[in-house]
Amino acid sequence: MNFTKKMMTAALALAASAAHSADLEVTHWWTSGGEAKAAAAFAKAVTEGTDHTWVDGAIAGSGGTARPIIISRILGGDPMAATQLNHGRQAEELIEAGLMTDLTELAEAEGWADFVNPTALLDSCTLDGRVYCVPVNIHSAQWLWLSHDAFESAGLDVPSNWNEFVAAAPALQEKGIVPLAMGQQGWQQNIAFAALTIAVVGVDTWRQVTVEKNADVAAGPEYAKVFEAVVDARKLAEDSNVQDWNLATNMVITGKAGGQIMGDWAQGEFAIAEQVAGEDYTCLPGMGLNEVIDTGGDAFYFPVVDDLEVKAAQLEMASILISKEAQVAFNLAKGSLPVRGDIDLSTANDCMQKGLKILADGGVLPSGDQNLSADTQTQIEDLMAEFWASDMTAEDAQGRYASIVADAD
């Protein structure tokens, strides 16, 4: 029987495990098709590059579901060997409580500071001068993904920015195509909001609100335009009734929807569907209006463990994750940008090249994760969830947004 066989294999593996190999449980929330492939690339790199075994601890659902599990396990005294967390303020308290392994020595020995690009990534892994995490990729959330099929069937050209997209929407609707695919989850709606913000008001104003937390600006006339834009977008997404982001992406892939505002990880889904950037779909960083991307992304943390073997293995693993080979394999699968400025990504597709170019031009912003606490993020996501799903007016939404910003810490 299958199960018996598995038990046997497991038992044999256990018996065969030599003195210096450790099982490294790695938790992450990469569970969609493209993401899972990327995780597998890391697993392969670790398993082949060391004596240790990657024990996959994928937690389904978005980061919102997975993070609490990860954190409660670390706090609960049952830490995993390594875990994905968005770098930024999420891990601050855990680091302060001494629950995360200090990677500074490894980072200095390998000279991470020299090749990590942009350097902001390493900064956000650093607290009081010590490095606590390995950044593994750069994700940016300000992308508009467009379906060529959809626009062709409506007899339109593929838009080149958000404004054209809005203008083209009625024609799509006539054809029974949903103009904007939108998963009904707060974090997705928040991404759309953030992307629209940068597209509408530009980087400087955005920075005043998000980084400096200026509630007056948030309540001001410029931001009012953002909320008007969201109200427009909300109309375009009226008929989109999926929940998960990848189902929304799938609507774009199958031409049921004209476009989707989503992070660059959506690219993984297009890749799995064997679609080609520029032929089957188009990606517009910064919504085609303000060509900047944020430098959020994923990072790996290594909780403090008692087991000495695991301790040693953690450092080996950290070194592997940031190595050139693993970075290439992982990021190609995931559709994200590598954190090293010194690797050649000529194999990358059209969209990634766009991203790399923006990165090279320095059009980078810090991501929301780095600026806002989880608490504030959750409140904004809750607000967005409500705003997008109801007929709340732009003024109301803006007022509440401003008060969240005012209370943010």
Partner: protein
């Protein structure tokens, strides 16, 4: 027969220390005592105390008074959660009680295949909320489920998409909740009906009282304790409503099907704002107390113990 010495005969023995009487019983009750004191009393107190702090990711005794509660009650999501729970709660209470009793009364009418019907009405109760939620998520799916089928029959204008319509999503959850829980209430009611003396029915018949009237005027008043029990059980279950929502809608669309239990878990773990989560769970506790105290008073207030 030798006589015992008088001094020995009237020797008094002292009462042994009470702590060591029936030591085995006390020893065996340690798990219960620990659970009651440490988890139930201790844990609850701990949570309540920490709800007055500004604990974020880690619990800290950094008191901020009622700040967390102020924020809680000014949070739209919490208000939506409470409102949803109220709608769900009232509808669920009224409907489960009515349907449960009606089903029990129907089954109590000397019918054939009673066992078969009972089995059908009760089986959903054996299923978890997760399974229930997923099953109904599928049936209510607007593209494939009931709406699509009815449209396929020719009523193209037919709209029934509770899970995608923020205004009625809570009723979509209610349908699933009723499906899962009414059988249970039916069984309690049936047990109550079967506990009523058959002579009551004979008397009612002799007096020429109709069936429905007998139920309303005689049987239901007699079953008051059963109704109260069912009410308390359903009510305390409603407050815990969590799995069903997570599986069926995960709070969506937007925040329109959020419930308090989900708010608690969300703020405790996801938003890393323990204080806020604790405040919300304390409010849940408070609402349970509001339900429980009058019931306990009615149930145990007058009676002596033993």
């Amino acid at each position: 027969m030798t006589l015992p010495a008088p001094s020995r005969t009237h020797q008094k023995t002292k009462r042994p220390a009470q702590l060591f009487r029936n030591l085995n019983a006390k020893f065996a009750s340690i798990p219960m005592i620990l659970t009651a004191l440490v988890v139930f009393v201790g844990g609850t107190t701990w949570t309540v105390v920490h709800s007055f702090t500004k604990s974020r990711l880690l619990p800290k005794l950094d008191f901020v008074g009622f700040d967390q509660y102020e924020r809680l009650w000014s949070s739209n999501r919490w208000m939506t959660s409470v409102e949803n729970l109220l709608i769900y709660g009232v509808c669920s209470l009224v409907l489960t009680m009515t349907i449960g009793f009606t089903l029990a009364a129907l089954l109590d009418r000397k019918i054939r295949f009673e066992g078969v019907f009972r089995t059908i009405f009760l089986y959903p109760f054996a299923l978890s909320f997760v399974v229930t939620g997923l099953a109904w998520q599928w049936i209510l799916n607007p593209d494939f489920g009931v709406q699509n089928v009815v449209r396929g029959w020719g009523w193209t204008g037919f709209a029934f998409d509770p899970l995608n319509n923020p205004d009625i999503v809570i009723f979509g959850i209610l349908i699933a909740g009723l499906w899962q829980g009414t059988g249970f209430v039916m069984v309690i009611m049936l047990a109550g009906l079967r506990g009523i003396d058959e002579d009551i029915w004979k008397a009612a018949r002799v007096d020429g009282i109709g069936v429905v009237k007998t139920y309303v005027k005689v049987i239901i008043p007699m079953m008051r304790p059963v109704f109260v029990t069912a009410l308390v059980i359903i009510a305390s279950g409603i407050i815990k409503l969590y799995d069903l929502v997570v599986a069926q809608t995960n709070g969506g669309p937007g925040i329109s099907s959020e419930v308090p239990a989900k708010y608690v878990i969300n703020y405790m773990f996801r938003a890393q704002n323990l204080g806020q989560g604790f405040a919300a769970s304390t409010m849940m506790l408070l609402s349970v107390i509001i339900i429980l105290v009058p019931w306990a008073y009615l149930e145990f207030g007058g009676k002596k113990r033993g």
